[in-house]
Assembly symmetry: C2
Homo-oligomer: 232 residues x 2
């Protein structure tokens, strides 16, 4: 494996492999194996099989603990938005994994290196190789750096629709008027931050911020719901 990648892993994530062969296997696509039969390489698929299950557990446990009031259906919906090709390929790019995949020439020429399905596989196989090399705690540290902050900052909450949930919650015992007030707009035009308050029964129930009014409203509704449910 290229020294540049080993340096990146060390500098960006504090990861140093005991067995670099595992990392190499995790980044080797079958097209590369086929072009280099004398190297007797393994492609990443077996390690990806394992990494997929490791990621599933990491994300499930985080969601289970972070959202004690979410019913199973919501947890499942949220998990599906995180454990998926779109998200994993984005994580892989963010970690520069696309630069270090070992591809055959044909696949390279076909643009495979930027294909989401491949990048998703590589993210999973990386996690599998880290799990094999260093165990669950090391994977947890990596995922806590790359994945969990995005859960915390609401990257995946678009599947949740907190506004609808808040409405349903407040209207259990009849109609309630719920309003969202924009209370500030800060920052430059291309990076504006909106802050919104949600109000019902003349009370401010929660406040949220975001790069669009819609995201800020969802964030405010989420805060309100969490407070209300904590008080239940």
């Amino acid at each position: 494996m290229e020294q540049a990648f080993l340096n990146e892993l060390r500098d960006n994530f504090g990861i140093e492999y005991h067995n670099v062969d595992l990392l190499t296997e995790a980044f080797t696509q079958s097209s590369y194996v086929n072009e280099h039969p004398n190297l007797k390489l393994q492609d990443y698929q077996r390690i990806e099989f394992l990494g997929d299950a490791v990621m599933e557990l990491m994300v499930s446990e985080y969601l289970y603990k972070k959202y004690p009031n979410y019913p199973e259906g919501k947890l499942t919906r949220l998990r599906a938005a995180i454990v998926c090709e779109d998200s994993f390929s984005a994580f892989a790019r963010e970690c520069h994994f696309d630069r270090y995949i070992k591809l055959g020439k044909g696949e390279e020429n076909n643009g495979a290196r930027q294909r989401n399905s491949l990048l998703c596989d590589i993210f999973e196989s990386f996690v599998g190789s880290l799990y094999l090399d260093q165990g669950v705690a090391a994977v947890h540290r990596f995922v806590a750096q790359v994945v969990f902050p995005k859960i915390d900052n609401g990257t995946f909450s678009y599947v949740m629709d907190h506004k609808t949930n808040l409405q349903e919650y407040l209207q259990r015992d009849g109609e309630v008027e719920i309003t969202y007030h924009l209370i500030s707009e800060t920052g430059p035009a291309n990076d504006t931050k909106f802050t919104v308050e949600v109000i019902a029964h003349d009370q401010v129930l929660g406040r949220g911020t975001g790069h669009t009014k819609k995201i800020a409203e969802q964030a405010a509704a989420e805060v309100a719901l969490q407070k209300l449910q904590a008080d239940d």
Copy 2:
């Protein structure tokens, strides 16, 4: 939770819960929650969400390590035969979990207690509760007692078709005659044990036993394949 169940868990599996509430939640169906609103119970679904992911990883890691020569496709097929309703409901019955599920009267009268889908859920939620209460090592011990021996003894190998795999392997460089010889039949008529040898190039490649000739042949082919691939 009934003392009888706590005793069973202790005597059969060496498990003693720190927080028995987790175990109770894992065995409580929504119909029971609805019938006892004043008890403020939670049903098992959130814990099952977690337990599902725990089982997926347990089984994936076991298969990955036990079958170093299996390509990803075979691992996936085998995992699907283990991580499924039929298997998990059978494990649940074997552990007597069916006796301790908390069901509402309507569900009880509908025969829910013996429904495979419920028993599968309960197996997963039990595993989730054990994971929360005692961590991954405790789950591993439980699964090593209840699940892994069945992988070892070939309960799920019906999805594998080792005979076809052996044939494909031996015929990479041209036609080869492969024969299976029944070498013994032992035990009473209702519990006969068959032993079969698989032969190619005048060499015995492997020997297998089973309760039918077909299972014994598959077992012999599996042994032969493992030996041949280990020599590669």
